[in-house]
Amino acid sequence: MTEEEFVQAVERYGDTVFRVAYSCLKNRADAEDVMQDTLLKLYRERRSFESEEHRRRWLIRVAVNQAKSLLRSGWFRRTVPLEEQLDQPVFDRPEEGELFEKVMALPKNYRLAVYLYYYEGYSVREVAELMRANLSTVQTWLMRARGLLQKSYKEAWSRDGS
């Protein structure tokens, strides 16, 4: 890959890879580390991809694997320092912030499945391939994630109403 092609790849896929990593790790610093490692793997990758979508999926799989490795290694941050909490995205509407908070409170696999399904627009089968999980497992994760989110919203509404 030429340097010019790599610059384009970073611009095109950098945020995608970052969001996948953030969905797994829940903190910016580790997610950016994974983003960088993943993109550097792309830079060193000698194979040619069949299409941009093929390249995109390869990047997502690598990012997922990198994030899992980081979690297994124990080096990830278990608590988010205050300054990182302030590094959260800035939302235009309260409901965006609320949704973000609730999704980030889901278990790791649910978060990632939800992100790939609802944001990246992959089918359940494609999410299963990207996460190297069984189709039925992903279906369960998505169903439970929706259930937890609904419950969380109901509880919030109940609190607001009281």
Binding site: E3, F6, V7, V10, E11, G14, D15, V17, F18, R19, Y22, R28, A31, E32, M35, Q36, L39, L40, Y43, R44, P89, V90, F91, D92, E95, E96, G97, L99, F100, V103, V114, Y115, Y118, Y119, R146, L149
Partner: protein
């Protein structure tokens, strides 16, 4: 779940520009490191060249405020063209006007112009391999003769009207003591961003200058 809300929400999540710029720099550094000895030699020759240039080229001397030594930091390279920045912020572009032959895993490679060319078969069949690159104001001709087991590599660099030449032989103990030529163009004032007079100068340095190598990062 409201998919539209989900997409609007997560669209706010971006990697920082610093992280993206950093990975570009890492890739460039890897690209430079991958050429290993070539990049190190390039940097070493560049530093030696700076010293030589100070004595012979008025424009470069002025740009470095008459310093004999300055630290150059390579900020970008494709293996052939390297952009350096001095301590004062001046930028210089160097063109690595040299070809080197490297033996690797039983194969013979010519490293020149930012390329790595496997010349094993051509050399075995024809007994010679020629590489030429021409830029505005200077040219490099690399001629490798002999066989993959016993070869000679002759670099001929022409800068304006001046020609430099050297030959390195495979049977000699060190292949690193060849003549290196580095051409610099001063690209401007690091502070104001204005471009001063362009200096294009060719020169010849022999061997390695350890002091000069130390001054280049």
């Amino acid at each position: 779940m409201d998919r539209k809300l989900f997409q609007e929400t997560f669209s706010r999540l971006h990697a920082s520009d610093e992280a993206k710029e950093e990975v570009l720099l890492m890739a460039m550094q890897q690209s430079t490191k991958r050429r290993g000895r070539l990049a190190a030699k390039t940097a070493g020759i560049a530093a030696a060249a700076m010293m030589g240039l100070v004595a012979t080229a008025g424009a470069i001397n002025a740009a470095t405020d008459g310093q004999l030594f300055t630290t150059l930091t390579a900020v970008w390279s494709d293996g052939f063209k390297t952009v350096y920045q001095s301590e004062s912020g001046d930028t210089f572009t160097g063109y690595q006007m040299r070809g080197d032959v490297e033996e690797r895993d039983g194969r013979l490679f010519l490293l020149a112009g930012g390329e790595e060319i496997d010349i094993t078969d051509t050399l075995a069949e024809d007994g010679s391999y020629t590489y030429e690159v021409k830029e505005e104001g200077f040219s490099l001709l690399v001629e490798v003769t002999g066989s993959p087991e016993r070869w000679s590599c002759t670099n001929t660099v022409t800068v304006e009207d001046i020609t430099y030449s050297d030959t390195v032989n495979s049977w000699e103990t060190s292949t690193e003591d060849g003549v290196g030529v580095y051409v610099f163009e001063n690209e401007g004032d690091g502070e104001t961003g204005e471009t001063s007079e362009t200096a294009e100068t060719g020169f010849s340095v022999e061997g390695k200058n350890s002091a000069a190598v130390n001054s280049v990062e």
